[in-house]
């Protein structure tokens, strides 16, 4: 709920395993709310939602162990270094240090490994947040405006991670305003308007 108004109403959406689904829509349409709901950060007031076959109302914790969210914020600690932030997130998710180090290398932040989060540029912070997400080796990757703040190199890294995710058994739900970039990655697109899902015809998407 946003004040007296429901943030999402009448959302009916199935996502197949291995899909890269683009969630498009205007500001305030409910994209972020839907992603946070899928991540298990919000609870349902009405209706049902299953993520990775688990009912969110029954076991949000189990869902959280299998998803990763790249949101507007990095979820990192300003006074920890890149490596420390990454290792903390990976180990908290039951992953190893080597998983964290591999993620760091994948996003191209190795040379910033010993710099604290507070001293990183916006783009570097986004890369670290992306590394945090993939270090968890999620089965569902939730990306909220993932291209925002990234330079060309960062966008290339992001695109490679998203494109290769299905082969690693990971489904991707991607909310973006940068439709040209996002459509190059997505295998399907839906629109969310005023909290409701509208599934456009393929021809309309391409137009």
């Amino acid at each position: 709920m946003l004040g007296r108004f429901p943030a999402l109403a009448g959302v009916d959406l199935d996502i197949d395993s291995g899909e890269i689904l683009l969630l498009a829509g205007p500001n305030g349409a409910g994209k972020t709310t839907l992603l946070r709901l899928c991540a298990g950060l919000l609870s349902l007031r009405a209706g049902t939602a299953e993520v990775l076959g688990v009912d969110l109302a029954v076991d949000r914790k189990r869902v959280r162990r299998s998803v990763a969210l790249l949101g507007h914020e990095t979820f990192c600690y300003d006074d920890l270094t890149v490596t420390e932030n990454l290792r903390f997130a990976a180990r908290a998710a039951g992953r190893s240090r080597s998983d964290a180090d591999a993620a760091l290398e994948r996003v191209g932040l190795t040379r910033m490994a010993n710099v604290t989060h507070g001293k990183l540029s916006e783009g570097q912070r986004r890369r670290l947040a992306l590394a945090n997400a993939i270090a968890r080796q999620p089965r569902l990757l939730l990306l909220d405006e993932p291209h925002a703040g990234l330079d060309e190199g960062g966008r290339a890294v992001l695109d490679e991670i998203v494109r290769t995710a299905p082969a690693a058994g990971c489904t991707v739900l991607l909310a973006s305003h940068e439709l040209q970039l996002a459509r190059q990655l997505a295998t399907r697109e839906v629109r969310i308007i005023a909290g409701q899902i509208h599934e456009p015809e393929r021809a309309e998407v391409l137009a």
Binding site: A39, G71, F75, Y77, D78, L80, A92
Partner: protein, 224 residues
Amino acid sequence: MNYLRDVWLVASKDLRIERRSRVALQQIVPFGGIVVVLFAFALNSDRTLLPPAAPGLFWVAILLAALLAIGRSFNVEESNRARDGLRLSGLDGGSIFLGKAAAVAVELFLLEVVVGVAVVVLYDVTPRSALVLLCAAVAATIGLAATGTVYGVLAGGLRARETLVPLLVLPAVTPVMLGATRAFQAALDGSPGDAWPWVQLLIAFAVLVVAAGTVAFGPLLEEA
């Protein structure tokens, strides 16, 4: 084993943040020191008053500094929405609670050593019954840290958290302050036998709050 590993993971993260940011060193320890020094100056005209007042003044200084440490422990979770990161991490609420409370407790122990030395020097107090003092300090510190951590998470998501935490914590830790002061008084008076009932009260309080916090922290983290 995994549970303990998670507790250590959270505690070491918080302690590393404190070590690097130096907030504890530059704000909390000086604050505790200033409180002790100010009381020493205020009561200095009557030197006979300082030693009997020392236990109470020591714990007042620790309590006020503890409020800063608790506030700091949850402020770091609000930046960059790290709190959501903790929720998403998959860590059990109980292990997060124990880790955060342990980190606050370690900071308070260090503070107690510094403030304790200041009290001995400035208040002309002779430490006696070291075992009683140690047991009372450990139990009281755990009780303070655990209580603060429970209320810290409760107020964590609110804008008025910096005002709310002291309002919630101060009444709740009254038994700790009373028990710790009385135990220290008895120990310093050279009658440790009178201190043990107070130490038992402190231990009971600590066990109760730690148990309640371990169960309640997860839901509180979700709802706050």
